[in-house]
Symmetry: C2
Subunit: 331 residues, 2 copies
Amino acid sequence: MTQNFRALITTVPFGEENILPRTMLDAAGIDYLVNPLNRRLKEDELADMVGDFEVLIAGTEPITDKVMSRAKRLKLISRVGIGLDSVDLLAAERRGIKVSYTPDAPAPAVAELTMGLILSLLRSIPIADRRIRAGQWKRESGRRIGECTVGIIGVGRIGTRVLRHLEGFRPRAVLLNDVAPRPMALPASVKWATKEEIYANADVITLHLPLSPHTRMLIGREQLLSMKPDAVLINTSRGGIIDEAALAAVLTEGRLAGAGIDVFEVEPYYGELARIERCVLTAHMGSMSIDCRAQMEIEATEEAVRYFTGQPLAGLVPSLEYDARRLVAVG
Amino acid sequence: MTQNFRALITTVPFGEENILPRTMLDAAGIDYLVNPLNRRLKEDELADMVGDFEVLIAGTEPITDKVMSRAKRLKLISRVGIGLDSVDLLAAERRGIKVSYTPDAPAPAVAELTMGLILSLLRSIPIADRRIRAGQWKRESGRRIGECTVGIIGVGRIGTRVLRHLEGFRPRAVLLNDVAPRPMALPASVKWATKEEIYANADVITLHLPLSPHTRMLIGREQLLSMKPDAVLINTSRGGIIDEAALAAVLTEGRLAGAGIDVFEVEPYYGELARIERCVLTAHMGSMSIDCRAQMEIEATEEAVRYFTGQPLAGLVPSLEYDARRLVAVG
């Protein structure tokens, strides 16, 4: 009798730039299957695929109650990354399925991509590059971070790093917003502010929030129109936080200087923003630096190996994440 | 009798994002003509245009002895920017034409564009953006500055600022090279190095040099092949320092991870690099942030106004720049 596959790896790519995660699974004698569709799975695809696997090493595909109802032997969802919006935590809890994640690993890569998108937009780098490739030479005027007020909405692992990167550019001011402003020593040019103050005053606005019922469609037409007409908006956190249709409409109407978007409501993304010149779009690559991606895959795989070898799990999602879901569930 | 135009402004754009330079000329009663071709002039075009003007408010077009021989009344060349490679300083001196420049104004904008190009290359931002616009979604792996050794060749006004911007990213190491290493307090991860050490060890190499006989074709095939096969190379200083044909050849052969080039031997640039995917090309936009460009135009215009109103000039090119040319001329 051949051994069954015991772990399903849905996230792709996996173990490509750094093969250590695959080596770890092999060394522990764990048979695994990597997502044969080689792209983000839809709910029904995952439900059909999940079968008898005990462990999911998961990306951002929807792991819903329906999926779990089809996963008769599932014991652990080990998320490669930090976002939990794709996982029905309360359903997992009811079904006795543990959920782990790698909250620290992606932050350095996401923060650097954010800086890249800010500079790309302020200086029209992809626009100039496209034009030169099309035989057009035009010196575009831009703005410097050093002349901008930057608003950071969400000052957790990633927002804090963006703040540190920004400091070397001496922005005119940085406005921080979070549901729970933490005690931090801040230079005189950095201060806490409301979202509305950020919309009204920031030249650059960057989002570093989880997707939750509180943040879904946070930035709609009204918020976009309350921003400075020449503001640039960056989202490297989660699709669904910005209303993409409203963003496309507002940009088409000539408002905002640009948008840098790495995450979309539906991925792969082929929507209207891709036809607007002053957008800079990337393919959910925030965490995709070789080092951070490897770290995420390694940490999530280590957790799977702990499960299979009977060691205590080390990356479990903390109870406050479940509590937050319960609060939303009751209203 | 109508008054003749007295100042020729060859640099374009001029007074567009900030109209103050034009206002200053008008207020001083100085009639001026702005380059009617609205692009960088060639030597013969400038020679034909220079006529009876007393002052040139100049871009990077060649201001040669031949041009000056046609400029019977020229008294001042006021360069908008820092580079003097386009001006025959010794011919100007012989003819009694003063040369001024604005060496500090462009540095902040050039340093920020440099950071934008580094991040664009390390994370494949323009590649991802082009692909999504073409209906292709592919998550590209990249590298973080935080994992890189960065080499800065030329540590003057701009290189020093690039170093400061980099520090917020905590690069693994920074290697500095200059003809005259200055005493600077450096963190442990930053040290002086030879160019050869930088070629051999840096993951990111950025050039911040003037164009001179010493730097022309500094980076040829041999130097490119001595770089790490996955290095990225940035040039926001001057065309002519990198051998563009050699760079295109080496990239086509599969060496180097990419090149970010803002300056070219011949501008506008329509050459081979524009057909290589992993180049990021911009249109000599280093100084083109609204604030720095305005500052450059204002400073160069102030100098012109000083000349016309009989005040002492304040932005004259220092004598060591002339001495350097004399050294080259004799040996």
